[in-house]
């Protein structure tokens, strides 16, 4: 690898898709936009993998934009945690784009394809930027880039269902409020410290000690990010957005958008605030933990009532996000590790499940569970992928879901939190119900009369099964993911001032 590229990997990670995005809109050749987007995502994935490899043994890469050293200039900072999330995001990008070709052709008007892929790549850019940057304000900027692009691609589902427009509009309102809260919080922190570089912020906040302003800043950032990551009860934008967006978009967003928001939350909680004052930890116990527990139960419970498969998956996501937040609220290295590994595992699982839903939407013309009766016979490979993903959602051994649950339960036991263990178990039991409900409909019932359904095309099956395969592979051999998650968690704990560990 040429020295030049190696040196500039962090900026290339963001700049490659940023530059490619506008060209997607320019290309008028048939499928040209898709090709460009796909090649771009491949390049970004390659870059993330290189970054992942470079940081795997604990090295931290720091890149100074414009040659201005931090804390004055903007710094891109890659450690194990970022690199892990970057890989998830860009990897999902590659596979969803591969999938999108057939799916989007079905769900989005042909003349909008150029703009659709532009927005898609911009969204990718934003998510990668949020993850890679070490500058707090830069996080906000990229968050907005990704969010604005997201509103557009969610709205592009309007061809099949006009409700996509309302969903996108609600998402826009909520996303904007979330981002505003986040930036208000940042402003308060800037008032105290006069700096925006995260490492510098952490240092100065530690020196500053407790104050009302700091508490306000913490509150605004927590609630703002809680909205972005769909923490219960701030999740209400999510079900509609994921239901009415084109399936490729649902798959991409469910695997990346909320995960990146959780990453930002982790980064701010541990690296910036660092629990230097008891208030920060108290809020986590008093507010976030109960909400996470409630979310993981209620999300799953609501999911059992859904007939729309995509909406079912959306509520399941809310439940799983609750599980991640439970891991975060434990404030221990093992809990964090459980949250981080679940972040990856859930991304893989949910992406495959949404791809399955998309395949149904394309081939069966519906995602209603009632109308999908007997689909297991007509679309065996697609439905089998759902079974794999569903097992992972429940947490059956040999799937990644089990690995997550295992670490989560173990972390809760280490803390001696029995009720939490029960909640985790109960929410998996409820997951059994909603997954079982679909599997039962797909396999045990005869198909409705006069319906012709064919198996999905290979370009959809391959990415779907790559994700399903990953959720099996890492369910059997989890050494890579658990090692990466453990190192990322240790990095975060080391950066914070958690003293009771």
């Amino acid at each position: 690898m040429p020295q030049f590229i190696a040196q500039h990997l962090p900026i290339l990670q963001v700049i490659v898709p940023l530059i490619a995005a506008p060209f997607c809109a320019l290309i008028s050749v048939r499928n040209g936009a898709w090709w460009l987007a796909f090649v771009t995502s491949l390049v970004t994935f390659a870059i993330s993998v290189l970054l992942f490899a470079a940081t795997f043994d604990g090295e931290i890469i720091s890149y100074h934009l414009g040659g201005w050293a931090p804390p004055i200039g903007i710094e891109y900072r890659v450690d194990m945690l970022n690199a892990f999330v970057l890989t998830i995001v860009s990897g999902t990008g590659v596979l969803t784009l591969l999938y999108a070709r057939a799916s989007v052709a079905h769900e989005v008007d042909a003349k909008q394809h150029g703009l659709f892929y532009t927005a898609f790549v911009l969204c990718l850019t934003g998510l990668l930027g949020v993850t890679i940057t070490g500058d707090a304000f830069n996080v906000f900027v990229f968050l907005e880039i990704s969010s604005l692009a997201t509103y557009a691609i969610v709205a592009s589902g309007a061809k099949t269902d006009r409700r996509a427009l309302t969903a996108a509009y609600n998402y826009l309102i909520m996303g904007t409020i979330g981002a505003t809260f986040f930036v208000i919080g940042l402003g308060l922190l800037y008032m105290i410290t006069g700096t925006l570089n995260m490492a510098d912020l952490a240092q100065r906040l530690l020196e500053h000690g407790d104050s009302r302003t700091l508490r306000m800043g913490y509150a605004f950032i927590l609630v703002g990010l809680g909205l972005k990551l769909a923490m219960f009860p701030l999740h209400q934008w999510l079900p509609n957005a994921y239901t009415y967006a084109p399936s490729a978009v649902s798959a991409f967003l469910s695997a990346t958008a909320t995960k990146v928001a959780i990453y930002v939350l982790l980064r701010f909680l541990f690296s910036v605030f660092g629990f230097s004052i008891p208030f920060e930890a108290d809020i986590l116990f008093l507010v976030v933990l109960p909400l996470a527990l409630a979310g993981s139960l209620i999300g799953a419970y609501i999911a059992t009532y859904q007939d729309n498969l995509k909406r079912l998956l959306a509520y399941s996501s809310i439940s799983q996000i609750g599980a991640m937040l439970i891991g975060v609220s434990m404030l221990s290295a093992s809990g964090l590790m459980a949250a981080i590994i679940h972040l990856f595992n859930h991304a893989v699982t949910k992406a495959s499940l949404y791809m399955v839903a998309g395949a149904y939407a394309k081939e069966a013309g519906t995602v209603s569970i009632r109308e999908l009766r007997g689909v297991g016979r007509d679309m065996p490979f697609t439905t089998a992928a759902f079974v794999v993903g569903g097992m992972s959602l429940i947490g059956i051994p040999l799937t990644v879901g089990f690995i997550s649950k295992w670490y989560l339960v173990e972390a809760a036991l280490m803390r001696g939190w029995w009720p939490v263990v029960i909640v985790i178990v109960v929410s998996s039991l409820i997951a059994l119900i909603y997954v079982g409900k679909f599997i039962e409909a797909a396999y045990m019932h005869p198909a409705p009369q006069g319906i012709i359904r064919r198996e999905a095309p290979l370009t959809m099956l391959i990415p779907m099964w790559i994700f399903a395969g990953l959720s099996l592979f890492f369910g059997i051999n989890s050494s890579l993911t658990s090692e990466a998650a453990a190192r990322a968690a240790q990095g975060l704990v080391a950066a914070s001032s958690l003293i009771w560990q």
Partner: protein, 145 residues
């Protein structure tokens, strides 16, 4: 199209000044209040005023959709391209020192170009959003309300 004579005349008179002011904000952005964002919006305001008075069709005649899209894209590319120059000179991204022989001049050039990119993108985006709303076919015809 011959109503509002006064409005039409005043608008035509004002337009050059609005655009000139936008340019002023644009070029002074690097060492005074202003910059690409603000300038872009003021630029767009000029076009919006034009469309309000003379009709959207008139605006789309002088600024067709492809031009607006190209404007947005060109702005982004100008911005990112300026940043990339530093990269290819062996510096980091957005490092303008190499843009001129003197690093001070280099920084000035860099800011100017980047702000120009921002300005173009913002101006064309704002105009495009206005056009998109204004030319939207209503779901229900006016007579059917």
């Amino acid at each position: 199209m011959h109503h509002h004579l006064i409005l039409r005349v005043v608008a035509k008179l004002l337009l050059p000044f609005i655009l000139l002011y936008a340019l002023y904000v644009q070029w002074h952005g690097d060492y005074g209040p202003g910059g690409g964002f603000q300038a872009g919006v003021i630029f767009a305001v000029g076009f919006v005023l034009y469309a309000l008075v003379y009709g959207v069709d008139e605006l789309t005649r002088i600024l067709p959709r492809p031009v607006l899209i190209t404007g947005m894209i060109a702005g982004v590319i100008l911005y990112a391209g300026t940043g990339l120059v530093g990269l290819f000179q062996g510096l980091t991204f957005l490092d303008y020192n190499g843009l001129a022989a003197d690093s001070r001049h280099g920084q000035e050039w860099g800011i100017l170009l980047v702000e120009l990119g921002v300005g173009i993108t913002v101006a064309s985006s704002m105009t495009a959003i206005f056009v998109a709303f204004a030319t939207r076919e209503p779901d229900i015809d006016d007579e059917d309300w």
